[in-house]
Structure formats: C-alpha cells, structure tokens
Symmetry: C2
Subunit: 294 residues, 2 copies
C-alpha cells in the first residue's frame, strides 16, 4: 500500500522557535532555505524534488512562514502577493507538478501550501475588518492594538471532513459528483459541522446525500488535504438496507458496489472495471484498499 499522500511530515515543527523572535532571526541568518513556489505550485529541482533557494531570495517585504527545522536548518516559505494565489488549484497542472514528488516532499509542500493559502486569504481581521500581520513565525495573524486593531489573534484553519465507506450486504456505497471524470466513484464526504461528533457527521452526510441510515461508525484513518486545508477523517459505517434516496443537489449518483467490482476497479490498468476509483493520493483510495483487505 502507498503511504498516505501529504502525511509523514519530515520537519521538526519546532513550536517553541515560533514564539522566539531572536532564535528565529538567528536560524534565518544561519543558512535558512526558502521553498521555491510559483504561486502555490511547487518548483522542482533537477532530481524532481522540491526546489529551495537561500531565504534572502524572498521578495522584499514578503510575509514569511517558518515551516520547521530539517537537520537543524530552518525552512521558510513566502506568502504569495495580493490576489488569488492559485485560482486553478483543482486544475491538472497542480497534480502534474506534485504527482512525482517524493512522499516527504509532498508532506512538506502540503503543510506549506495550507498555511500560505490561509495567509493569502486572511489578510484582514474577521472581527473588525482591519489589516492583520503575521505573528509566531507565520502560525498566527494578529490584529494588533498598537496599530489600531482590536487585539484579535487568528490561527490557520483546519477543516475536519468526514469521509466514509458504508457497507451493506457485503457491498460498499460510493458516490460521484458531476465534476468527477466520467464513471468515477468515490467515498461520500462532508464537513464536520459545529456541534457534531465525527460519528454524527458521518451519519448525517450519508443520510443527506444518499438517504441511507448508518450505524456502528468506526474510524479508519486520517489525512491532511491541502486544497486548501482539510483534515480528512476516514470512517466505515454499516447500513441495513440497500435502498437509496439520492439528493441530486449534493451528488450526481450513488451506487452499491460488490467486493469484486471494487477489486477489479482498484486493479491497475483494468479495462472492464465497473467504475474508476479515486486516485492513489486520495484517502478514499486507501479506504477502499483497506476494505478489500479486511
């Protein structure tokens, strides 16, 4: 099985350093490196890994995020300038740029991308509307009272998403959205809302989208997903009926697939599969692999 894409962060995030401006400055002056990006896409070195430059190469006045330490050396990334840094993140160019990255680099890039994107879309204080500035090595933005702000502190978002397989009579429920490639099916998913457990979110989403009542929800595994910053929480639940009532405003279709359907779809290069599975970078792919092997 592949490692879970974007997991396996290779850096020491060195949390105490974030709050220590002197140590941060010293690390920055001591051979620190800057992640090279084109907007929010990675630039690659000759070996196909992430490219770095001396941190002094950052644009003057750029907001810098301290990503962490690797072999004692500090790594930074710069927040893209004004405007939408990556309007086309769903575009295939993103996947083209990152699909070949080694697992470590993918994890490093994912964390950086989430934090940079958050900065780029949170330059103002949601509480009072005034401009904010990075703090704590780029892991916070402050609406500082000294500059006329309200004193609020803001932190990068991580949005938990429940993503689930549902099993009934040996079959598994998968769905598709209209934006998916032809015949692609994947696990149903939805944001965990305020006031819900993970298990309640799973049950609500499956009932909303497919009209299926789910019981006995269990956790399988999680994945950070940097488009822009989800925490994918993979679960399995069970249903007592194959009957579906699909909400077409949420999903285009949902179907029950047999173990043989899934095995054939997951087999590489299969021409006769009944559906196209989610890509290996998606936790849904891991969930299906896990389901087949259990």
């Amino acid at each position: 099985v592949n490692p879970i894409a974007f997991a396996g962060q290779p850096l020491d995030r060195a949390d105490p350093v974030r709050s220590d401006p002197e140590r941060l400055a010293a690390l920055r002056a001591d051979g620190a490196l800057l992640l090279r990006l084109d907007g929010l896409l990675p630039e690659l070195d000759e070996a196909g890994g992430l490219a770095f430059a001396p941190v002094a190469d950052a644009a003057p006045g750029a907001e810098l995020v301290f990503l962490g330490l690797r072999a004692g050396r500090a790594l930074f990334a710069a927040v893209p300038g004004e405007g939408d840094p990556d309007p086309a993140y769903a575009h295939r160019r993103t996947w083209g740029a990152i699909a070949q990255l080694p697992a470590d680099d993918l994890a490093l890039f994912g964390a950086a991308r989430s934090v940079l994107d958050w900065h780029a879309r949170h330059r103002f204080c949601a509480r009072c509307g005034r401009p904010t500035a990075p703090a704590k090595g780029g892991w916070q933005r402050d609406c500082a009272k000294e500059t006329g702000g309200c004193g609020a502190q803001h932190f990068p978002r991580v949005d938990p998403v429940a993503i689930m397989l549902v099993e009934c009579e040996g079959r598994v429920l998968l769905g598709r959205q209209s934006r998916f490639p032809p015949n692609s099916f994947s696990a149903l998913a939805g944001f965990v809302e305020p006031g819900e457990t993970i298990e309640e979110a799973v049950a609500r989403e499956v009932l909303e989208e497919a009209g299926v009542r789910v019981r006995d929800v269990q956790y399988i595994g999680s994945q950070p997903w940097p488009f822009p910053s989800q925490l994918m929480i993979g679960c399995l639940g069970f249903a007592d009926s194959l009957e579906l009532a699909i909400d077409k405003t949420e999903i285009e279709d949902a179907r029950w697939f047999t173990r043989e359907d899934v095995a054939e779809a997951m087999a590489k290069g299969s021409d006769s599969a009944s559906f196209v599975p989610p890509p290996p970078q998606a936790i849904a792919n891991h969930l299906l692999q896990w389901w087949l092997e259990r």
Copy 2:
C-alpha cells in the same frame, strides 16, 4: 457511563432548507421558536431545560441562525449584538447555567453557541476587510459583490484538537496547566495543525509538551466542544519510557498515574485520591473511564 456532553444533537439540521429562502421563510412563519440566550449563556425554563420564545421576539434586525427542525418546527437563534458576547465563557457561571441541562438540550445549545460565537467574531471578510452578511440560514457569511465585497464565502470554523492518553508500563500520562484547579490533571491536548494526520498531531503534542515519544496511536472517540468550537478527537498512544521532559511554557506539570490512582480519582467523593480528574463533561473523563474498563 454518562453520554458524551454536547454530542447527540436532537435536531434535524435540514441542510436543504438552509439554501431555500422560501421554505425557510415559510417555516419561520409557522410557529418557529427562538432559543433564549443571555449573551451566549442559555436561559432556562421552569423545568430546567432550554427556554424558547416565539421567533418574532428576536430583536429587530438581528441576524438569525436556523438551527434545524424539531418535530417539524423550525428552531432559530439570534447572533448577539456588537461587542464580545461572552468574555467570561470560562467562568463558572457558564457551567452553572449548563451543568443541569438535559443531554439533548446541551447538544442543541452547544451547536448554537459555536455558530453564534463564530458569527459574532466574523462580521468582516478576512480576505478584503469589508462587512459580511449571513447566508444559507446562518451557516455561511458572504462578502457579496453586489454590495461592493470581494465575493468570498466564509463558513463556521470547527477546529480539530487531538486529546490523548499515553500508556507506558500500565501507567497513564496526564498533565496540568496552571489555570487548572489545584491538583487537577487531565489528558494532554493540542490543535491539529495544517499538514498533519490526527496520529501525527498526537505524537507531536506529546513530544512537545512532555518529551515522550508515542507509537501505535489509536482513535477512541470524539466530542464537539463549544468553547468556542473545537472537535475533540480522543486517542490512546503508547510510550516505551517513563522519562519526561516537560515544556513548562506549555504545561505546568505532567505525571504518570497507575490504574489504581485513576480508579480512585474517578470514584466519586474520594478524599484520598492522588489527583482531581477532569469533569464529566470533558471527553478526557470519558477517555479515563474507557482506559479503566478496557
């Protein structure tokens, strides 16, 4: 075992209604109720449950959140006016007001509190600084282009927090912060950061706070925590050494407790216990109960 506090949402959140202004208006005109609040504290009825008023009692111009349907009737809550709606949420008055609520009411209140607090602290667009307005029944805020905004849509935050027991040689690791009551110890915890799995967040937090390396992290259960809007993700991990290196900037103390220590502390009314356990409303209490019973 008590039910997990704030879980067990009794409402049908009726997601399709949120996007249907006509249906929302019809429901509002048909006996809808307003959750009665004092700031973000609940008002109680004579039976000690949540108090409601006709929705027409809402202050003129108040922003309303559609909480969901109960027995076909729509429930709403109003966003508190300008200013900090609840500066003292950590104050004992909060616990006094909610400690006696029935489980259903506690869940209903928790969801409402999280969303209302989010509105009150997110009146402006983080992307462009202009005022925003509620949309989708109060489950979104829009920075509308028609009123000069940037078009951004904003959604209520849910911040995932990893909270964990760590076991080694039959003992469990607990810590305390200086703000805890005397001799109180609880599970270590920390926000899941961008670019991390739940399991990675557990390992990072325990290493940061207590200097302990954790392996074999497993998920136990989750809880919505409405102060202001965390998703508590309870886990168990294992360590191979009892050695501690406590980061005093993060926690005041951390200690290993035996099964007997925990059993005695969890026994109600114990005078000779070696520590005071977390309150029954906290998932940490459930984690300890689960650990004792396993």
